[in-house]
């Protein structure tokens, strides 16, 4: 087990390195330098700026410096968005907000999605199942921004039950969390339904039935526990989805999280911020995937450890 964890951890670190490398070289494909679009700098000022940020050195040296700085936890400074501010500070300030929303969103998605999927599986081909199936298929077909904007029009603009933007009151969390969790909730419900149905057709359930066990024990002790395993594998991608989904949600509801910073950085072409945020988010998602994978193997002893 220890060897396996170490191996997976090594692979994750390597992937983060690849992601950082891809990001660095993509960002250097951009024509011109970060100061180009600003008001006319004189030659000497430009040179001084380039020297200050190390942009006059060859690409490979810049790359090395960037990686070394990354290892020290230094993402560089913002050129445009908030001039000369450390990107690390910006991330530390805004990420907790996004993380809080995301964590609630994930919790909500799981707590609603699993029961919905179970009900659908129990009442297979009855009206409850049909309703849940239609709704969840619609749920995975509606883009996040549509859910965000329509729920905002309906509940905040027309009915005025909830605030439209910001995070001042506790009620203002409701809409962002709902929109963030809508897609994963539907996805989990579909996943849960099919894995529950799969579990019900397994031999151990038939054996349990033959032994005369109650429906309650069969469902909760045997079927549910085994059908939760696919949900665990989905948790990794779910973290990724929630973080990227926050770009839209924070934009629509005007929440000062990392997602909105990222979108702002994109529209202002603040390359250092884009780069820093991308690497940070990528590393976070990759590590979360790693945790999920390890969890998955821990929960289900049938899965072979070691080489795949």
């Amino acid at each position: 087990m220890g060897k396996y964890i170490l191996k997976r951890f090594g692979a994750a670190i390597f992937t983060i390195f690849v992601a950082a490398t891809i990001t660095f070289f993509i960002m250097n494909l951009v024509p011109g330098d970060p100061f180009m679009s600003e008001k006319a700098h004189s030659e000497t000022v430009l040179q001084a700026l380039n020297e200050k940020y190390g942009l006059d050195k060859p690409l490979i040296v810049q790359y090395k410096n960037y990686l070394v700085n990354l290892l020290k936890g230094d993402f560089g400074v913002s050129f445009k968005l908030q001039k000369n501010r450390e990107i690390k500070d910006m991330i530390m300030e805004s990420f907790p907000i996004s993380a809080k929303l995301g964590a609630w969103g994930i919790l909500f998605a799981i707590l609603c999605g699993i029961p919905l999927g179970c009900i659908a599986a129990f009442k297979r081909n009855k009206w409850a199942d049909n309703i849940i199936r239609v709704l969840s298929t619609m749920g995975i077909s509606i883009p996040g921004f549509v859910v965000a904007t329509t729920s905002m029009i309906l509940l905040a603009v027309k009915l005025k039950w909830l605030p439209t933007s910001g995070l001042k009151e506790p009620t203002s969390y409701i809409l962002p969390i709902f929109t963030l969790s809508f897609y994963p909730m539907c996805y989990i419900a579909r996943l849960m339904r099919s894995s529950m149905l799969e579990a019900f057709s397994q031999d151990y359930v038939r054996t349990a039935r033959a032994k005369g066990m109650s429906n309650f024990i069969i469902t909760f002790k045997h079927a549910l526990r085994n059908s939760l395993i696919p949900i665990i594998t989905y948790l990794g991608p779910l973290v990724g989805y929630v973080l990227t989904g926050s770009f839209v949600v924070e934009q629509v509801f005007n929440i000062p999280g990392l997602g909105r910073y990222f979108v702002k950085a994109i529209s202002n072409r603040d390359y250092m911020v884009i780069m820093g945020t991308t690497i940070f988010l990528a590393a976070f998602i990759i590590l979360m995937n790693l945790v999920c994978d390890l969890l998955y193997k821990l929960v289900d002893p049938r899965i072979k450890l070691g080489d795949e």
């Binding site: 960002m27 298929t137 077909s141 509606i142 905002m152």
Partner: protein, 336 residues
Amino acid sequence: MKLQDLKKLSLQMNLSPEDFAPADTQEQQDLNKLTQNTSYWNDAWRRLKQNKIAMIALFVIILFILFAFVGPLLSPYTYDQQIRGDENMAPNIKHPFGTDLHGRDLLVRVMVGSRISLIIGIGSALIVLLIGSIYGAVSGLFGGIVDNLMMRFVEILYSVPDILIIILLQIVIKEPLENAFNQGSLFGGLQKLGPGIVAIFIVYGLLYWVGMARIVRGQVLQLKQMEYVNAANAIGASKSRLIKKHLLPNCIGTLIVTTMLQIPSAIFTEAFLSFLGLGVSAPMASLGSLAADALNGIQSYPYRLLFPAGAISIIILAFNLFGDGLRDALDPKLKK
């Protein structure tokens, strides 16, 4: 015929001597019909036709294709035409979907936006199909160290969060493409699409084929064990012939289903990018960018959001449902 009355036992049936008479020609022909061969496609089409939801979805898709490609030709306005005096109109007879703050007809813009969504969905699905199936087939067929290396590469690409890299590439590719297009040298037909869409195609070609490659490889690994592949090998067929003639045609069902399900996900991603302001550039409209534009005046003009948002949701839903139906029809083993 009494013999078809299967629920009864033989003694309950009251048979008469005529029931044992030899079958006449008509009956013989009927029996022959039953044993007629059905091809894979006929069989799949029969299964698909029985699936009501999938047929409705197909109908909706066809309607949308007409709406998106024929619709703009019938409209008196063009998507970038700014009609003076018609600014900020609510839906009315002249403009069924209303107009935006520049006086552009929203119906035409939604049509053009749907066209972009469809082009992107189908185009990128084809790109993914091409790259993914070749990559997967080569990796699966060659096996050994080649397979190992190729799949390691896929694993790395797979675990890098794709949406982030897509955003990055989209930012970076768009500007040089715009410049290249303005000089207007080599691209020809692509130029009509605009740099935003071409950038999305490139991004899909670079990143999104990994899922397809994995699926195809899995299939090829199974098919490789078959006798006919062995036989083809024995009479000296080349690897490329094996892939083209034997391996890919035999996983055609999986290929079609995966490609079909790729379409809604590509449309999804494009809408997401356009909503963030990264997709097509103005005055071109995509459903995502129309929704993003509508966000500014959402308090006073909520219907501006309604139409593009509804259109994109219906398109994706229809493709998802049709893809599911197609999967059940072409590959009944996959059905859960």
